[in-house]
Structure formats: C-alpha cells, structure tokens
Amino acid sequence: MSAEVVVIGSGASGGMAAYNLTQKGVKVLLLDAGEEFDRRFFWTHTLPFQGDGRLRKGDRPPQFFLDTKEQPYLTPEGRPFELVRVWGRGGKTNVWGRVSLRMSDMDFTAADRDGWGIPWPIRYADLAPYYDKAEELMGVCGGSDDSDALPGSGHLMPAPPPRCGEVFLQKACDKLRIPMVAGRRANFTRPHRGFVPCHYCGACGDGCDTASFFNSADHLIPQALETGNLEIQSNAVVARILVDDRGHASGVQYFDRRTGAERQVKARVVVLGASAMDSTRILLNSKSTRFPNGLGNGSDQLGRNFCEQLMVHVKGFLPQLYGRGYSNDDGIGGEHVYVPRFNHRPDRPKPDYLRGFGIQFWNTGAQTTGVDVARAVPGFGASFKAEVKKRYPALVSLHPFGEVLPRPENRVTVDESRTDRYGVPLMKVDVRFGDNERKMRKHMYDTCQEILETLRAEIVPIDRDTNDTPGSAIHEHGTCRMGKDRRTSVLNAFNQMHEVANVFVVDGSAFPNSSEKNPTLSIVALSWRATDYLAEELRSGRL
C-alpha cells in the first residue's frame, strides 16, 4: 500500500489536514487508531437513572475514552499525570469542551517580552485569516468584544444569553473592573452547513446526537471523503515513521488494533495529528542510525518543553437565588461568559509571576444532578436535604485556566524496557509544576474569592494549596515545538520538521507555549495553514 500523503490521526488537527489536502486534490490516506462512533447510539439525553435500565439490558454508552489498560503510559513515582485520549474517528472532538478562543500576539511573542522559552515563528497576522475561516467552518458563537488578550472576530454566530448566575457574575466583574465577555464556543446557535442548530440540552460531554457542535467526525471527515481523494484505515495504531537512506520519511509502520498484525504503508509525505503526546511518542520511537534519539530530533528538543494549563476550581452559592427552584440552565453546555486574561492591564498591580490566566464558569446554575451542591453542604437529615434543595439553583462555579511555563525537564520520553501489546516502547510523562504556577495559583484563588465576596456568596471551603493533577486540562503542548532556530525547535513556521522535510506535525505539540486559552481553534487554524503550505510544496514539486 502507498499514498501521496499519510495523515496520522482524525481529530481536530488530522481531520483538518485531511479536509484541506483532499479539497486541493491531494490523495490522502488517513490512519485512525480506532473506529467511527455512531451518533445514533450516543447517550446524549440519558439521565443517570435511565442509564441504569439501559445498562441492565446490556446496552453500553459509547466507549470514547482510551482505556489505559489497553495503552498504558508511565509516570515517575509521586508525579501523577492525567492523560485523556480518544482513539477513534474524530478523536477528542467528539466530546471536547468547544471553547474557541483566538490566541493573540501577547501569546505569540510572550517569550520575546519575558525571556521564558522561545517565541512563535509566526505572528497573529499570519494566523488571523485562518482563524476567520476556522471560526466559520466550526460554527463558533460569541460576542463582538475585541482586546489585546483576546482578538475580536467578525465571523461568529450569535452568543446565547447568560444564565441567572452569569448575570450576577457579570455585575461583580463590572464592579471589580475585571473584563467579562460572551463565551466563544463551537456550538451552532444557527443552522450550519446542513446541520440543525444546538437544542440546548447541555449534554455535549456525552457526544452530540445532532452533531450541532463542531467535531471532526461530522464536519471535516465526511467532506474530505466526498472529494474522492480520501481513504481511511481504521484501527491503525501507528508505531513509527520509517526513514530511507537519505533521512527522508518513506512510510509508516502501524499495528492493526483488532488483530495485532503489523502493517507498513509507503508515503511521499507524513502528517502527524495524533495528539501532542501520541505524536511525540511516535516520533521518539522512530529511531534510525540517522536519527538515533527520535525522528528529526538533532536538537534534543523533541519531547521536552511540555506545557499546558493549570486549573483550579472555586464554587459558591448565591443567596440571591436560594429557594428559587429548578431553572433550565443547560444552554450550550459550558458557560456563556468568559473572563479573558486581565493581569497585564495597566490598571492592575504587576503580577509576581509570568503569563496569565482566564476564567471559565461551567456548571453555573442547575446544570448537574445536585451532587456537587450536596457535597458542599454540612450535616445530614431533613435539614441537610432542605439546604441542598435551597442551594440547587444558586451554584456558581469558577474555573481559572492559567498558562504553565514550558520547561525542558518537563518531558515525554519512551522507555525501551516497557512495551505495549505491539512491542512498541511506552511513553513516560514526567511533569511537575513550579514556582511560577504556585504564584499564579494564588492570584487565581484570590480573584475567584474576590468575585464571590463581591456577590456576598457563600463560598465552598477550598484548600488553596491544591490544583488539578498535571494533564487535567487536556491541553498538551510544547513537545514538538515550532521555532525559527533549528537548534531550539523541532518544526519550522509551517509545522514542517527542520530535519525531515517530508514530515509535518500539526497538533498541539507544535505550540512553543500554551497561553491560557483552550487550543482547538488554534490547532485547526494552524493545521489549515500548514497544509496550505504542504499542498503548494507538493504542487510545485519541491516535496
């Protein structure tokens, strides 16, 4: 078997690569580590107790998440890492959070300004036309705001109105002069490209039965198939990129997930979009005499400089909403408002840490079962039950996301002594947060507390020495970063390997730094831009 371009992975990055290349007439073979998830069998509107009956009948919800028993990863003793993977058509976009934020030149040039890490080899102006196209394709809704931290857009669908709790949060932020804008999410608030709009059930995390939010499986792959230029190989777990005598990629080695059989496919060009961690694992395992420590890794930067976002969670109850009873706060699933980064603003004290954070607010209002509320109420008995019911509509949840600095020692490696079911070395993830994250965390907690105190909210007691386990944001970056200098980066400004011209890496691993923003919109835009370049290189015969 051979193909002009082999794309590894079918999520946001690989899906976009396949979509764009096939539209341009390039023949693509897409290797997907799993199979299609059938929307007809999603449990989108299944309440927990309804699921009981379905389970008893032998029915199962779709198994989106990769079982670590099937594909383990290693962590050092005492340094846990939460790695969430979806192997199957569309990858994590089946169940993603849908927050779609443009990065700004504050993010692209962060290293130029504070000296930490390396700057991006591109600027906002390079990516802006792709953000426009990506937002239109992905059906992102949002407001008319525009700021240095969060560039505006004329390409958004109308934002949904705020819930009660979010109205209160807006007033508190106004008073504190903390910016709050409409959330930007890839939920369709209007009919979109032949799909019905969001029906406001709030169950996006179970997969959408009407495909009314952007996901690669419904909004990129079918369109690529329609061109006649796409072939898909399901259950293809890629192990290595193969290299010829000249040091060019010659193909891909993969294993059939059902039979374990080894397969090889020849390729003129290989595009990796297998998610940051798996793409990095594949490249590190692609060892040859030419590249003894992983493909295109002469710089020793491959696997290093892991970065992501730090999350903490603060909850409170608004007495103003006590006893009002249930209100349907489902909306488009997540919050309808967003606090963009503000710590750099001239009217703010200069922070004692680098970079910044934004704040999200999912599960504000009566969106969940009541478990979250009840956990926060002391006591037991009839009075406890009444206090839970009283607070049920009054929950506000604050979730700051802060930029974790890239550090060379926070890294992914492969362990030759430990292999998976195919005999391929496992990845080892070694990540810890540092002093900058601890200082930022304090500012996050202080800000959340300030907002809730302004509302005279009852604040659920928090342990301010805690944060989510590394990896929990599911926004992994940095391990195969872009840069101008081939000594300090793995990819060039078009996601092409400095050392191996016919290999491109288009997923989140290419980001030199994470910013505080959810990355999928930027991944789609970046993959679109990279594959525009790739198609032109193929057309001109340079590749």
Partner: protein
Amino acid sequence: MSRPIDRRQALRTLGAPAVVPLLAPFHPWVPRQEGGWQPQLLQPSEVEALAQLAERIIPETDTPGARRALVHQYVDFVLAQGDAARRDAFRAGLAWLDRRCSALFGKPFAELDAGRQDELLKRLAEGAMSEEAAGVTFFAAAKQLTIEGYYRSEPGMMEELRFQGRTFLAEFPGCTHPEHRNWKIDG
C-alpha cells in the same frame, strides 16, 4: 476540553471517587432495580445497616429518601467495582458502627431507633470525639456515597430537585428575571 471533565471518563472511573468536572458530569451509570436485587459485595446485615444509615443522611420527607432511591444498591455496586482498599475501609466502618452502638446502647446500629442513631451520627458529622475518629472518617465516606447515589437517582433528581433539563429547546432564554437585570451589587 474541561472536562468538566469528567473533564471525562465513562465507565473507566467506575467506583473511583474522583470528580471529572469537564466532561459528562452524570457518569458513572450504575444499575439499580426494585425487585430481585442481590448485593454483589455486602452481606444482608450490612445492606440493612447501610440502608438505614443512608436514610438518616437523606430521609424521606415530602419526597422519597435514600432507601426508596435504592442508594444501598448504588453503594454496593460502586464498592464492588472499586478498589479493594476502599471496599475494606467501608466494611470496617460498618463494623465499627455496630461495635460503637453496642457499646453505647447495647444494640447494633440497625436495631436502634432513629433518635439514637441520629445522636451518634450528629457527633460523627461534627467530628467531636477523638475516640470516634474512625467513625468520623467512615461517616464522611458514607455521606459522600449517599449523596452520589441519591442525587443521581430518579427520586433524587426528578422528585426532590425537579430536574427538567437534558431536553430539546428551540431557543435558550437565559435569565429572564427583570430584578436580576436591575440588581445592583451595592443596593
């Protein structure tokens, strides 16, 4: 992706106490049934003590309590699927409860009247007495499981909290209360 995670894992975390806030806040699904139920883990006497304990935590009022919500079935299932340390700790806690009740009142927990049961549980909830430290930890775990079992059940969600979401709306109205639009923080 925040997940409210459970920023995220369907049956993968069955039995684990972790909250996955980013994705799928309703997981895990746990089977419960009215008739013909057999415990997977607990002995009948343990089931009865657990059912009574859960009912003291969330009693029947104008809506059903934990027993009618079959919280004991939820707890048995979750413990049976979960790790051994958690399982053993919970059963040791039930045994402690009976020992303590026998020492204080001459009878195991399940044979006491509700007033006596509440007398002990009140101290455990407040964490007051050092010789009852084991019970304090156990009560916190039992309360946690009772909450998960009850507020995910049909009586807990639909009768007590009157949940009406996960439905189809043509438009999402947002907050429609004029008093919230005009509400002033200083007012």
